[in-house]
């Protein structure tokens, strides 16, 4: 892991080892629930989530890219760590997603500033290393630009659908793409959000801590506002419906979700031509690639192997399962509705 300075932890709190950080500072989570001075930080954490839920970026106490006062740094980091604890305790996935996204945007701003910082070499080195360590993008400075190997660039740029991100619209030289600090950071925006999200999802959920209940309950209420997904009876299992809804909304369905959806529908006898339009709304839609991938899954592209729909167990590990009682302990979504109650 990177060695982080005081400012860095405040700017990129998700890089810190949360438990270790608390220990180093001589605190336990329980103290925050009882100590009146510390309890205030739980409210700050709640605020931080609320701001994110509203789609805004949390304004930190950092002034001019520097920790303003001695007290500000721990507050910054604590509010982030406590926010994660609250989110875990509430178990609200929609909030975790929104929070990760907003935190990613916040970090993005700092990364960009650090990258562009020519007066402080160490700042810009750190930003370069964050990008390399976390997203395996090898960034190198070249005059006012940053160079990134074309292959690294492509792995990220294909997630954008704006034409300006196509390689043909980039300055390519010596096997590298040349980007401004802003573009460099923009390139990894999605992955930054995913990274923060997975860090939160993978964090252990503590048992309820006295003094945290109120804020947790408020979070549960808050998340109701964003619940758009309701399960109704129908021919498709919840996981498939959920995937269809995401696509309908034009949101990004992860590769594993697309795989599940496509293999499910193919097994149900739908053709590649029927399925392909479903992906039209996806932010990274590309007709040529979609057809290729579907044909590959359907086994019509030469390999002859038709891929089968993953098991419920597998889908659970990929966070794609949204089981209801109707699923009735089936082991594969294809059995949905077939098993006798």
């Amino acid at each position: 892991m990177l060695a982080l300075g005081q400012d860095e932890i405040a700017k990129y709190p998700f890089l810190a080892d949360a438990g270790q950080y608390l220990k180093d500072k001589g605190f336990t989570l329980e103290q925050f629930g009882v100590d009146p001075d510390l309890k205030e930080l739980i409210l700050k954490a709640y605020e931080r989530i609320q701001v994110a839920a509203d789609g805004k970026i949390y304004k930190s106490d950092l002034i001019d890219n520097q920790v303003s006062k001695e007290a500000a740094l721990p507050r910054e980091v604590f509010s982030f760590l406590l926010a994660i604890v609250l989110l875990k305790l509430s178990g609200m996935h929609t909030l975790i997603k929104r929070f990760s996204l907003a935190e990613a945007r916040r970090a993005e701003k700092y990364l960009e500033k650090d990258l562009a910082n020519i007066s402080d070499e160490s700042k810009n080195q750190l930003a370069v290393r964050v990008i390399d360590d976390l997203f395996s993008v090898k960034v190198e400075k070249q005059d006012d630009y940053f160079t990134i190997p074309v292959s690294d660039y492509l792995k990220h740029s294909i997630n954008f659908h704006e034409r300006e991100w196509k390689l043909i619209n980039r300055h390519v030289e010596n096997g590298n793409v040349l980007l401004s600090p802003h573009e460099t950071v923009r390139l990894i925006r999605k992955e930054l959000g995913t990274y923060i999200n997975s860090k939160i999802v993978n964090a252990k959920t503590p048992t309820m801590i006295p003094g945290f209940e109120d804020s947790v309950n408020k979070l549960v209420l808050l998340s109701k506002k964003f619940k758009t997904f309701t399960v109704t009876t129908g021919e498709y299992p919840p996981c498939v419906k959920h995937a269809l809804e995401i696509l309908e909304k034009g949101e990004n369905l992860p590769h594993s979700g697309r795989f599940m959806l496509a293999t499910f529908l193919l097994s149900k006898g739908q053709t590649v031509q029927q399925i392909a339009p479903l992906f039209k709304n996806a932010p990274d839609y590309n007709a040529r690639v979609t057809l290729y991938q579907l044909n590959h899954l359907a086994g019509t592209s030469g390999s002859g192997t038709q891929y089968s729909c993953p098991s419920c167990e597998k889908l659970k590990t990929q966070s794609l399962c949204f089981a209801t009682s109707e699923c009735n302990n089936i082991i594969n979504p294809l059995q949905f509705g077939k098993k006798k109650q």
């Binding site: 074309v150 292959s151 492509l154 792995k155 300006e164 043909i168 619209n169 390519v172 590309n286 290729y292």
Partner: protein, 373 residues
Amino acid sequence: MNENNLKFLEESFKKYYFEHSELILVPERSSEREFGFQKFNSGMTRHISIKDDKELHLLCMQNTPSDVYCSNAYYTFPNLPMNEKDWKEADLIFDIDAKDLNLSCRENHTISICNDCNEISKNHVKCLKCNSIKLEKKSLPCKNCINSSKIEVTKLSEILINDFKINKENIHVYFSGNEGFHVYVYNSQFQQIGSRERSDLVDYIMFNGAIPETFGMKKFKPNRSSFPDFGKSGWQERFSKQIFGSKSKRSKIISELLANGYSSFQKTLDDLSNSIGVKIDPNVTMDIHRIFRMPGSINSKSGLTKIFCKDLSKFDPYNDASYIADDSVEVIANCPMEFKLKNKKFGPYTNEKITIPRFAAVYMICKKLATLA
């Protein structure tokens, strides 16, 4: 194709595989690749793993395949079914085919064979004899086809070397055995990218999807200073060469471009795709699970060998890729076009019985333009 002709081809191919084993070598890291082959008049056998040249020769001798294939991908378990193979990486591959180049010469040497009555004609819509629309196009590529394909290969290599900094030694060019070339790129930074990434790489090489802003034209308040200039790299340089021609004309042409406006500029860019974009088959490059014709194997569409081109400019497929024996055979040929093989001219023939060397007979039978007498 009737039994006799198949037998004849099989026997001719077998002889080739027996006598030219020095040409049929497994690629590097052979045990990580998937192999496959096809026999005359039967389906594809895939998911085979082959560890060395000896095993490959044995396969060719035992099965007398019409075609032999090998993956550009590397797998942990190449012989397992596709979803269990565990894909690791894949060499970059490009397919350049004369039939995709919109060449005007094509109609002079492309004919249609009716699948229902075997009538041969130059009408590509329907059979003039029986009205069937089940036509199969056959072409005997001419010198222009080959030279035009070579130009595309050269354009491609230039981009690979200049823009992507790929080592010249890692670019291998093969004659496809029929109407074009296959370009392989080994050990590049692109080994591990997937098909979506490869698809965008293809668009770069083909000059697809360029927007006016990239080449200096803005929608609002466009200015002269942002247009490409000479002495730059990549497409900026190639754009300058193509659009301005020379430094002295640059200023005048920029004025014209500005006067014509934004959408006209977009049109200019779209047209550039046809002129300076490299004409590769996008589906081949983005396919990371495909098996490709093996270098050194015979292409059953022509009887010619897919072979490494040491010196592309001097390469002549009709001399350098024909390895079939030259004993005399009798065939009935119905080949309305003239062609040249191993420095000998053949054709045109109209349903006539002729005695010709085996290599010419194999070529015409593969093209369905002759049958054994």
